[in-house]
Subunit: 379 residues, 2 copies
């Protein structure tokens, strides 16, 4: 996230508001279940062209939301990709109409496990159906239909946002001209499933989780904190941890010989756990990580080549040298398959020490590459 001085708040796209769109008709899910009514929270930046052909859909990662850019009234910081979105920025609002929606299953305005289940009159909790990346994208397609956008200039996302971008490119190939994939993969690796499993285990073994029905009482904050802490370490590289925290103690010059937090890295993790609890719902964490675990494009279509053969868009892939959660080799696999298929594809492996987080924080080298890719896409 980009911390800003309050005097600079009105740079970029300025003040923005979250909107919602709802559908009474249930959404058919990959599991066979139906979910409805559904609501998606979304934001837009820039103006849709008269030809309705300049829309770009941004897709957020596990802990993201619809607020990609600009400032909410009285907010301390802007949207999660603000540096990338605005007049003259890579996702240039002078040229493009940018859309970002909170994923289905989320907790920032879109229908998720914290939403009211009309059948029971209570929040869904663990009665929420297990969803997939495909379900998230199917809901987004409804949003585009309602906005009157047949074809997107581009889809773009990092990490789980990249899963959704790949799903768009293969499930709705005729609706996507350009696909931008950052720090992502065509399937969740075993290790990713393992980290997610441990996070879910921490949440579900927190006694305050209460089978998912905690909305009328205390929340499973200990479990969600542990899950978030695990995630955070996987998002950072060991060199970046060494540089930021090293072996420094938070309040003393040496060991306190106590079991409590005393290293700076411990205080950082405590803070991450606490602040995540203030903005995220533990059940959404369960459902979204499960959707990530199911993500397996080669498995679904028989092979990566068979999956990508469905696509019609141009592709840009950005990976980051120190990303060990979604290593560059995963982007290279996608690139190799697209080249075998004769697709237009560019892969840039950017040097970085920021780990997986690089796609959010090392935005400067990404800018010109994304600008050029978007400019040259056919209209």
């Amino acid at each position: 996230m980009i911390a800003r001085n309050v005097h600079q708040q009105y740079e970029g796209v300025g003040l923005v508001e979250r909107r919602t769109m709802s559908w009474l008709e249930p959404l058919q899910l990959d599991s066979g279940a139906h979910l409805g009514p559904i609501t998606l929270a979304y934001e837009t930046y820039g103006k849709l062209s008269p030809a309705r052909d300049n829309a770009i859909l941004l897709l957020h990662a596990l802990s993201g939301d619809a607020h990609a850019a600009g400032w909410h009234a009285n907010a301390a910081k802007p949207g999660w990709w603000d540096a990338m979105v605005g007049p003259g920025r890579p996702f240039d609002t002078d040229k493009y109409f940018i859309i970002c929606s909170n994923v289905l299953g989320g907790c920032q305005g879109s229908t998720g496990p914290a939403s009211m289940d009309l059948a029971s009159g209570k929040p869904y909790g663990a009665r929420f159906p297990v969803i997939t990346i495909g379900d998230m994208v199917r809901a987004q397609a409804r949003l585009l239909d309602r906005l009157g956008i047949d074809q997107l200039h581009a889809v773009a996302g990092g990490s789980m946002g990249g899963f959704q971008a790949l799903e768009w490119a293969t499930a709705y190939p005729e609706r996507v001209r350009g696909t931008i994939l950052l720090a992502t993969s065509a399937r969740s690796a075993t290790q990713t499933v393992a980290w997610n499993t441990i996070g879910r285990r921490a949440i579900m073994s927190d006694p305050r989780w209460r089978g998912g029905d905690y909305y009328d009482g205390e929340r499973p904050t200990d479990g969600l904190a542990v899950a978030r802490m695990i995630g955070h370490i996987t998002y950072l590289s060991e060199p970046s941890l060494e540089r930021k925290f090293g072996r420094a103690f938070q309040h003393t010059n040496g060991p306190a010989f106590s079991l409590e937090s005393e290293f700076a890295i411990e205080s950082y993790l405590d803070y991450q756990g606490t602040s995540f609890n203030a903005r995220f719902d533990a059940n959404s964490y369960l459902y979204i990580t499960k959707a990530m675990d199911y993500w397996d494009l080669p498995g679904r279509y028989g092979s990566l080549d068979a999956a990508l053969a469905r696509s019609q868009s141009d592709f840009l892939l950005l990976s980051f040298t120190s990303d060990w959660l979604y290593p560059s080799s995963e982007s290279q696999l996608i690139t190799d398959a697209l080249m075998r298929l004769g697709r237009s594809v560019e892969h840039v492996d950017l040097p970085s020490t920021a780990g997986h987080d690089a796609f959010l924080v090392d935005y400067q080298p990404q800018g010109p590459i994304i600008t050029e890719f978007l400019d040259q896409l056919g209209g």
Copy 2:
């Protein structure tokens, strides 16, 4: 661990028994506190020579114990390093007298937080003093004194066992002729501290932990399971996870669309959590990981060179190419410092896909290297 057919039980060093040794005199700890009386559980294999000059001290890792080799009566598997210890094996009991003791703070017979605190008449729990690697080694030195061993032919250990071996070589240089370091480091990296912190947080936020006083009731099994699962993933490489588990489902051919465990990797983690709870004490996990976090030889002596300048032994370092928890670069740092100091040092970076666990499971390539190192050490 090496699974064996029961018919082969009496290979190696055969049936062994755990012994204990106790001291009434309190041990002075690095924190300034005193701990006593103390007991160490230990095992020995082979015979001490009349000159008392053929002893080798094996040092175990976080979850290890004194049972390095041979078989306990009716046991399903042998000691944790059985393949390496026995007649004709690298730690050759025809030549050497091998000793292994459970660390101070442990839960397999040595004094730890589950031990009775004579002052209160209850188990120590969280009143156990915070200990260091130095304290563990100081206790081991008492054991050697009692066994009448002035100088060790060698010390050897992997991971946290390597911490202890380095502590031996620098705190008791005159007592060590050879130091064997496997998959280890001269200080805990920030990421290691982070993983340990998250594990401790999981245990201490389990309501059954009850401030450490759980010995008269239910144990914090959920917290310890999460801590162990995190550890396990850090011990394995992503390629080994892919090879062993991939994206296979445990009981079905496809997703069950449930929040419960369904991937094979999830079942594996569940099993690791459960089986660890059957043999390990959560408070010991807290204290031992804290001791690991404090491990910082360069910090203690001003620099790695200053620390290693204290040593007088020959050194053998083995690292493993896929170990990302204690990467080869950490062994190389130690090797470089020893070379600057003109010490006799050999570092072999062994190709492996087994991750950090390689030091326990890829024992075959280690054998001849260790044999040769031990043979050529001065008497």
